[in-house]
């Protein structure tokens, strides 16, 4: 990148001190399908709206919730292909950690590493920022469940509950009202589904959403199967 004709950064400050490329990237995120996450006292749940362009699309082949390590997973709102790059880089760096330390990488470090990558793309030559915000769910080194959001700028935040993408304002208000400090994972999953349904266009089924869960009992991040999602949906109605 340094020796090409584009060895200058495309993300530059404007007069008022803003980095417009990052602002625009955040716009791309806000146009993306809604994702949300809730951190319970015994686990974390992340979920996303997987509504696709046509009913002919094979939804099973589309993966928005992805494992990074055994104990942590990502979901996103924004530009899908950009997300895939971040998933690949995060998986590689956490395997590299495992090579050195023979231990799984703690979520907080995974987040810092990914945020650092996203920041690089706002200050390097010839590249544009990633058009995604990530929600990262996992258990930290001491077993505490954690939920993080990472933005295109490379800023990251720990959350008790949050939403990103289309309709995130309403979703966050809904979560603010429903969130309780000592919430259990099962309640969190129900609340997540209810929140997702709030802003859902049309009928929400187990085929057009994706849910990922990590529980402190085993510290393993799993995507729920459509059957499991259907069970939760049946309970909710």
């Amino acid at each position: 990148m340094g020796d090409s004709a584009y060895s200058f950064s495309l993300t530059t400050f404007n007069r008022t001190g803003k980095l417009l490329q990052i602002e625009y990237a955040l716009n791309a995120v806000a146009n993306g399908r809604t994702s949300l996450g809730i951190c319970a006292k015994d686990g974390v749940v992340i979920a996303t709206d997987k509504k696709l362009a046509s009913t002919l699309v094979d939804t099973e082949q589309v993966r928005k919730v992805e494992n990074i390590t055994d104990g942590a997973g990502f979901v996103y709102s924004g530009v899908g292909p950009d997300y895939r790059v971040l998933v690949r880089k995060a998986r590689k760096s956490s395997q590299s950690y495992y090579l050195t330390y023979r231990e799984p990488q703690p979520v907080s470090q995974l987040v810092k590493g990914t945020a650092s990558v996203m920041q690089e793309y706002t200050q390097s030559g010839g590249v544009r920022p990633f058009g995604v915000s990530l929600l990262v769910a996992g258990t930290d080194a001491d077993g505490t469940p954690r939920l993080y959001q990472v933005d295109p700028s490379g800023a990251y935040f720990g959350w008790k509950a949050t939403a990103i993408g289309k309709n995130y304002v309403n979703a966050k208000n809904f979560l603010e009202r429903r969130y309780q400090e000592d919430m259990e994972l099962e309640d969190a999953i129900h609340t997540a589904l209810l929140t997702l349904r709030e802003g859902f266009e049309g009928e929400m089924t187990s085929q057009n959403i994706e849910v990922g869960v990590v529980s402190t009992t085993d510290g393993v991040f799993r995507r729920l199967t459509p059957e499991q999602i259907q069970d939760y949906l049946d309970e909710a109605s």
């Binding site: 023979r102 231990e103 001491d142």
Partner: protein
């Protein structure tokens, strides 16, 4: 945790300082989280292995540490060829020829700290009696939930 390192002083100092500063950096960069003893040992081995085919560190190591997470101590044996194994008891150098058999016989599960130190003292005594070289000054260190501390044994030449 603490490392006992044997080898030429150049590699000894260079390697152990490099490792310990890396651990300090990890703690600083990660909100005070410390690496577990197993992670430390594997990191160490990785560094030895990476240097092995370039410019090896000629150091043999015994790394002992206490993990609050599992409330237990662990001991790792590493040599200059980047071999690594977890042990209940171990020795590096000529000492192993004399001391391993003592430890084989006297070691049992669930030793108290005092019992373990006694076995170490037995090993030191054996070396004083049977080993060719006259090494009068040994330093014993203990690592537990309260950290690393010294339990001295033998005459300190500086006292004479």
């Amino acid at each position: 945790s603490a490392m006992g390192v044997a080898g030429p002083n150049s590699d000894l100092v260079n390697f152990s300082e490099y490792i310990s500063k890396n651990f300090a950096l990890y703690q600083l960069s990660n909100d005070g989280i410390q690496l577990s003893t197993a992670a430390q040992a594997n990191f160490c081995r990785n560094e030895l292995a990476a240097a092995l085919r370039k410019g090896p560190y000629q150091v043999n190591i015994l790394l002992g540490g206490y993990d609050k997470k599992t409330s237990s101590g662990s001991l790792y044996w590493m040599d200059y060829l980047a071999a690594l194994t977890k042990l209940k008891y171990g020795a590096q150098g000529y000492a192993s020829n004399f001391c391993l058999s003592i430890m084989d016989r006297d070691y049992k599960e669930g030793l108290t700290q005092d019992e373990a130190v006694q076995i170490v003292e037995k090993c030191i005594q054996e070396l004083k009696v049977r080993f060719l070289l006259n090494q009068s000054n040994f330093l014993i260190k203990v690592i537990d939930k309260d950290g690393v501390r010294v339990v001295k044994f033998g005459a300190d030449p500086a006292d004479n």
